[in-house]
Point group: C2
Chain length 429, copies 2
Amino acid sequence: MPAKTNDPAKKTWLPVPLHSDFPIQNIPFGVFLTREDVITIGTRIGDHAIDLGALHQLGYFEGIPLTDDIFLQDTLNDFISDGKKTWRLVRNRISEIFDKNNATLQHNEEHKKIVLFTMDEIEMQLPVLIGDYTDFYSSKEHATNVGKMFRDPENALLPNWLHIPVGYHGRSSTIVPSGTPIYRPIGQTFPKGAETPVFGPSKLVDFELEMAFITTDANVLGESIPVDEAEDYIFGMVLFNDWSARDIQKWEYVPLGPFLAKSFASSISPWIVTMDALEPFRVESPKQEPTPMPYLQQNGKKSFDIHLQVDIAPENDEPTTVSKSNFKYMYWTMAQQLAHHTINGCKINSGDMMGSGTISGPTSDSYGSMLELAWQGTKPLTLKNGQTRKFIEDGDTVTIKGHCEKNGIRIGFGEVSSKLLPPFKSKTK
Amino acid sequence: MPAKTNDPAKKTWLPVPLHSDFPIQNIPFGVFLTREDVITIGTRIGDHAIDLGALHQLGYFEGIPLTDDIFLQDTLNDFISDGKKTWRLVRNRISEIFDKNNATLQHNEEHKKIVLFTMDEIEMQLPVLIGDYTDFYSSKEHATNVGKMFRDPENALLPNWLHIPVGYHGRSSTIVPSGTPIYRPIGQTFPKGAETPVFGPSKLVDFELEMAFITTDANVLGESIPVDEAEDYIFGMVLFNDWSARDIQKWEYVPLGPFLAKSFASSISPWIVTMDALEPFRVESPKQEPTPMPYLQQNGKKSFDIHLQVDIAPENDEPTTVSKSNFKYMYWTMAQQLAHHTINGCKINSGDMMGSGTISGPTSDSYGSMLELAWQGTKPLTLKNGQTRKFIEDGDTVTIKGHCEKNGIRIGFGEVSSKLLPPFKSKTK
């Protein structure tokens, strides 16, 4: 079904800049504020945002079972609830409407005025209301690096890691879209050599290079999702920066896990790229040894070849690329994560988000956090402007980009880019 | 302001059974399905549920700034967003309407038919859409008991425990109201003596006696809530059973905390008792030594004297009370928990829920979990029917009750009661 829509030969009548992340083969979904201050659901081709609410009102989705207001909403949750069949029908229809050989909208200037926006006319919003957010810890390289630094270099991986896609519940209320500035968190830490914990701004603010997937309603309370069906419940993926305060984390996280070290903010890219758009970029995931339990076993290409990059730009200065990684390094797949998440009967809703965990590659220039890149501050990175970084400093903008590329087609995620500000002026005494 | 509404001398024209949790001084808020299959927001006096949506339509809340549909909703979130002043105006008005000396509704048979339901005519729902759920770990006795069992009896409390109200993010999607049956979760465990992890139903399903509070919108991203203001953002409290699978927890929880061991289900009592109703039952919380950091310091009576009880009833058999505890044992107060939760700028929304953590008292008959009551299975409890319990068995119903009592007035929470069923018949291979 997605084959035709993914056809590399397909061209659109909209302009698509060279190396754009958003050719007609992508068709991501997002939510934006228009120039008239209206919130709508939309897609993007090249540098044009397309108002799907308006397209639907104009009758372009005729024949597809959609409620009248499905795109006139401030989140994608209801559309995602409609399920995979409907996502695909809509994606295919959008592909037809903007096909170079389709004259209907192409030559209707009145409709085009209503439907099309340039990217600078709109403001991207959070695409979904995230009911529950879970973060996994599924990069073996990352878990190994952290284990080496904080536990035992000889037994870096904990005993459960190769058996379980380890994960934890995160905070939904502070997930913000790209462009939202982040405040340096304050809190308790226990610095080396101190006799009691100290209070103040975190000194070790870090990014985490992650991706995340968005689910649809998948089960009822008590029901598990088989690993072979899990992909059907994944709507799409975004780039994800899981901001972390390493010093707060170190003092608080035993025994119940990271809490305030993470919940001050997490940033996502605003366009959800569908699994159908990513289909041509499937790759095998790393060999799993020992063989996982049956409920986690799967065959075939269950990962995706997604090039990832992290840039740091000091205030008013040019960016330096500090890491190049790839989603394909993930040890546990999304299907395995979802099967594991529901093996206990945990209910999954439309708009739930699940992070991959930090995506570190095998080499030191492919690590997914400053903690690893600068190895606990022992190997500071040098930026283009000559400054060094052990962690993120106030005024720095961290930008994660990601894209797939094959047969001349590039399907990208755009970026998640956020500036770290000094601590919020708090009312706290 | 609440003084008049809390007056012990106040009587209502509705019948209130002896020892009822719901005298006219309580006025809790909940959501229920009526005999006409309509969902509405309501309150309860004695064994009558009162339809606030209907009362509002009939003009009984005239003069209070409320939108027309504020009670015609399937969650309390919007009403809670209206803030403390409005909660209080509504509570006071309800108190007036049902005052023995007020004839208006009392003698309007037509209105009474529309507004009043007996409890057996309605079905209680989840009172709020819980955006984010956080669980704390704030009973010193519980943390000490767990530390003794799983870590070092000599150093049972972890170093951060006396400095931080330790907490973690939980799963919102599986919080269910009293009466919803729970399925025994399946998953991975690593039993003592095994060489590899095993798969199957949890063998150590436990309850956790907790209470939880529900918040209103409190801050913007980045902003902290001062401990002295924190109580203003708490709408009310419920009873909370934080179902736990001890064997799953043991294998999965290092290093990121409890995950599937908790997320299979958590149960709450359906009526939210407001902080105004609890006002007369304030007590001092335990002395905190060492003195907490300034952002956690507070004076006065910041805890509440709430009697708690846990009963276990085997299938078709009478209940046995297995624990009697009290909310006042909590080391960290709700205000401290909320101040800590936001010290990093974490945004708190209307309908967020925060659990106390297991509430264990100082004696072995006041512990808040089977893990502690039967001390890791070494001291099985004997039920009235002669059976013993180390943990919860299929068919058992666990019921938590809670109430305050002073000057002849009893303000109660009703109960959270849930039956444990065998594992869900899963599609998983």
